[in-house]
């Protein structure tokens, strides 16, 4: 089974910036591995996630997801690859406010027929899977028909998790998904997310600067240690 993420010899500099933002020699996520990535604010965590999503391309080096070098794909196929293999959960405002909760969860299947096909192979349908995930993530079925704009923040995050997981992507990327939640809810959400990723055998890359959550993960990575950009490595 191919690695969920492989970053090698990566350098990335924002256009117009004076210095490199990221210089990562080697960073990997095994299939199904759950990694906690920490780093101070502004250290380039979100930037790294954009590179893994294929929304940004490295200046040098390789970013491969699920065995595919992203830079080798044309732009349209790269967007499609992200839809097929990566689920995202962000800190806030994950949902399209004009769609119902159910439609939000189903959206990845509409963008990616491959996700629908995987579900069909597993003998289920997108709607059935959405209902199952919602139940697992403690979302009342009565919520599903509601507008996404009507949910509490905690509910929104759980809907976002269901949306990231539907159709069994190889990788779930979560960018500080708990920072808008209070401590109790943080723990509950994290447990649900970890459990569901394990059940779907998806790798999880979980970004946070809150080290207290790190204990539940297979491994903790520190971007400050990984990133050689500030070390003045020769360009």
């Amino acid at each position: 089974m191919s690695e969920a993420v492989m970053v090698q010899g990566l350098r990335f500099r924002w256009p117009g910036a004076a210095a490199d933002c990221l210089a990562v020699a080697d960073f990997r996520l095994a299939a199904g591995e759950r990694v906690f990535l920490r780093g101070p604010s502004g250290s380039g965590k979100s930037t790294l996630l954009s590179l893994i999503g294929g929304v940004l391309l490295p200046d040098t080096g390789t970013v491969a997801v699920h065995g595919q070098d992203l830079a080798a794909l044309p732009a349209g196929r790269r967007d499609r690859y992200r839809a097929d293999h990566v689920g995202f959960v962000f800190q806030l405002f994950n949902l399209l406010p004009y769609l119902s909760v159910l439609d939000n969860i189903l959206l990845p299947c509409r963008f990616s027929p491959l996700r629908t096909r995987r579900l069909a192979e597993a003998g289920t349908t997108p709607v059935a899977e959405a209902l199952r995930l919602a139940a697992r993530l403690d979302l009342d079925e009565a919520l599903l028909g509601r507008s996404a704009a009507a949910l509490s923040v905690g509910q929104q995050q759980r809907v976002a998790a269901a949306r990231a997981l539907i159709g069994r992507p190889a990788l779930v990327v979560a960018d500080e998904p708990t920072s808008a939640l209070d401590a109790d809810r943080q723990q509950a959400f994290l447990d649900l997310l970890l459990g569901e990723c394990a059940a779907a055998s998806a790798a999880l890359l979980f970004v946070s600067h809150d080290g207290r959550l790190a204990g539940h993960f297979d491994r903790v990575a520190d971007l400050a240690a990984l990133n050689r950009a500030d070390a003045g490595a020769p360009r």
Binding site: S46, V55, G76, R80, N94, L95, P97, R110, P113
Partner: protein
């Protein structure tokens, strides 16, 4: 394979529903603008048709030597005055030409409460045609048969509430309302007929016989009553009431083929300087004069459409700022910048297409509702048919403009989604 159009349409539709009030308002604005543009274009065509059909079935209009447009204006539209009359002899000479089928003389110069009096013969009711060769119809009564009988146009009767049997007094001269003229008060006319509306200047005419015109002037000389001379109506009939001059004459030919030959013969008449004009061609000339105003109206309407579309773009672009995070979510879900562009452009296109459809619906609805009234009041029959070539061209231009306008929000969203990527900016 890119995410299918169906997905984009689904998102577009839900997003529009979510902002239905502001989108509906812009759709209404575009709809009204389009209705105005198409309505003006359609009325323009219909007005031209109605104008061109003020008189039909008449092959030549004959008057004193002068400009063709002027002749048509005073003889048919009752605008302005003839500088010269033509002699009754000339009328009879024309009537005697072998190619001529009929002649309807017109004697103008008197008025009744601001409406022109037209002295003519009963043949007028038979031969005057308008529109698609429609003849004048009587709403009430019959044609005049006696010296002091009159037939009123629909507008004249409606304005003053005249009915058959009423008696009216004619005034000398043909000025605007309110000016006092010498009145032929001693010789009132009895209304014997009222014409149905035709939407032509006939509606605003008081029709009497040529003998009637002569009768009210027997005791006049040089445009004023002869002092001390007053001849009672019952005695007037003893005088020779044959006209000596008339203002103009409508001429019908046995065959249209002869029209240029007859025209030339009349124009080169040696006994009297006459002009004969083809009404159709001269109406076209006159319309071209009026045409400048309608062009201006059309240009203003086009401008209103531009304003409507600009409003639509403004609403879409203004909404984009709040939607940046929505674009970022779409990017994370696998949408490319091009799909983001397509989504936003699609929203604007859908809104302007709805506006165009609404505009057309308004035009047809208004034409169906106001059509009968316009027809009766102004002789304008708004056509309910499919859009003509000119309208289709305008619609295509509006559609092209709206497509062009839709590019703007799309491009803007494209730029945002490139700059933001998946990063959610608030």
């Amino acid at each position: 394979m890119k995410p299918r159009f169906g997905l984009l349409w689904h998102l577009c539709w839900r997003s529009i529903l979510n902002r239905r009030l502001s989108v509906a308002l812009t759709v209404v604005a575009v709809g009204l603008a389009v209705a105005m543009l198409i309505g003006v274009e359609r009325l323009r065509g219909d007005a031209r048709a109605a104008f061109a059909q003020t008189i039909s079935g008449t092959d030549l209009v004959v008057g004193a030597r002068g400009g063709g447009a002027q002749l048509l204006l005073y003889s048919v539209f009752h605008i302005g005055n003839a500088s010269n009359e033509i002699s009754w002899d000339s009328v009879q000479r024309i009537a005697a030409m072998p190619q001529v089928d009929w002649v309807v003389p017109l004697a103008l110069g008197d008025s009744h409460r601001g409406f022109r009096v037209v002295g003519t013969t009963a043949a007028y009711f038979e031969h005057y045609r308008y529109g698609e060769r429609r003849s004048l119809a009587f709403a009430e009564g019959r044609a005049f048969a006696d010296v002091f009988e009159t037939v009123l146009g629909a507008e004249v009767a409606a304005r003053h509430g005249y009915r058959v049997g009423d008696r009216i007094v004619l005034s000398h001269g043909a000025g605007a309302d309110g000016t006092r003229f010498a009145e032929h008060a001693d010789k009132p006319f009895t209304v014997v007929g009222i014409l149905a509306r035709s939407g032509t200047p006939v509606d605003r005419s008081v029709l009497v016989s040529l003998e009637g015109i002569a009768a009210i002037h027997v005791d006049w000389a040089g445009g004023a009553p002869i002092p001390g001379l007053s001849i009672a109506p019952e005695h007037v009939r003893k005088f020779d009431l044959r006209p000596k001059t008339v203002t103009a004459a409508l001429v019908g030919l046995k065959s249209r083929i002869a029209v240029f030959r007859v025209q030339r013969a009349i124009n080169t008449d040696t006994a009297e300087p006459l002009s004969a004009v083809l009404p159709g061609a001269t109406l076209q000339e006159l319309w071209n004069l009026v045409g400048l105003a309608e062009q201006a109206l059309l240009a203003v309407s086009a401008l209103v459409v531009v304003v409507g579309l600009a409003g639509l773009v403004a609403v879409m672009v203004a909404g984009l700022g709040e939607r940046r995070r929505e674009l970022a979510i779409l990017r994370a879900l696998g949408a490319g910048p091009r799909q983001v562009f397509a989504l936003l452009a699609l929203e604007s296109i859908a809104a302007s297409a709805a506006g165009i459809a609404l505009g057309l619906a308004l035009v047809y609805g208004a034409a169906a509702l106001a059509g009968p009234w316009l027809q009766a009041e102004y002789g304008l029959a708004p056509s309910l048919g499919w859009p003509g070539v000119a309208e289709l061209r305008l619609l295509a231009a509006v559609l092209a403009a709206s497509l062009l306008a839709s590019v703007l929000p799309g491009l803007r969203a494209y730029r945002y989604s490139l700059a933001d990527g998946m990063t959610i900016r608030i």
